[in-house]
Assembly symmetry: C2
Homo-oligomer: 189 residues x 2
Amino acid sequence: MTTEAKSSSRERLLEAAATLTYRDGVGIGVDALCKAAGVSKRSMYQLFESKGELLAASLEERAAAYVTTLLPARDDDRPPRERILHVFRQMESQAGEPDFQGCRYLVVQIELKDQGHPASRVAHRVKENLAAFFRAEAERGGASDPGLLARQLMLIFDGASARAGIRADTATGLIAPTVTVLLDAAGMH
Amino acid sequence: MTTEAKSSSRERLLEAAATLTYRDGVGIGVDALCKAAGVSKRSMYQLFESKGELLAASLEERAAAYVTTLLPARDDDRPPRERILHVFRQMESQAGEPDFQGCRYLVVQIELKDQGHPASRVAHRVKENLAAFFRAEAERGGASDPGLLARQLMLIFDGASARAGIRADTATGLIAPTVTVLLDAAGMH
């Protein structure tokens, strides 16, 4: 394979792994992934050690876009309270998409049931970064207990995402009032 | 098969489906389920139309115990606020078990990704009953918006359960203060 062909096979595999795992679950077979990517199994195993490594790489590759979509821009100088609400507005908008099945970094950990799996580790790290953002904003905003507020916000984030993902509820009219109550209770400005 | 043998095969299959699906996910094979139950595939298909029907029946069978464990007793005459907190104390205790992987009625819906699946329908109904309990207590306790409070409590329930299940957080020191803030904000007595 040329370097260019390799790179393109790699990208197609990452895309197939991200899309099909999200749609069908982590049980999706290597054959289905290779077929969707138009890549032979032999080529796949030249590029990735295992399906698990491919899945981990696909989650890793999307992490930057995930963060960019959710978090306020670096030069966004609104108060911490507004910056936190921004994340939840973005999430609410994602949760309204017809193919939304919950935050992929939560879902993959629930499905894998193995915190040591390479994909679980990536997913855990991505969500820890979100928790760290909440904690930093909580500190800047003068929350009475920034650690607790960050944990509460992650709870809301994952709960709302899971429930919207299974169509048990929508995020609309639910996330904003809930987050506001928690921010108020923490004395956030 | 005698009626007794049938009943016992059925029970062993229900137990295996509940235990193995929770431990390993909905992708668990029929062979593994039958092996764990000590039942032939032929017998399994005499008792259940499909693996999906077996899974649905196993969730249905545990629903009564699930409700009994979580909800206060019928003759529990504490105020609505205390009755709601009771549910979360029970959940917190479950979430502390070493084999806890999240509420099984949430997890199965996330994994199946199909709200029309017989097992998703059972799971959805069981959680709707919990939401109805919250709503009734919210009304009795004079919540300003009982519908919103019930949705918020389900959000906390599923979020805390999911995060404890993937070991992203523990329920301890998190659920009680969060639920209390929401009950206070709703003016619950």
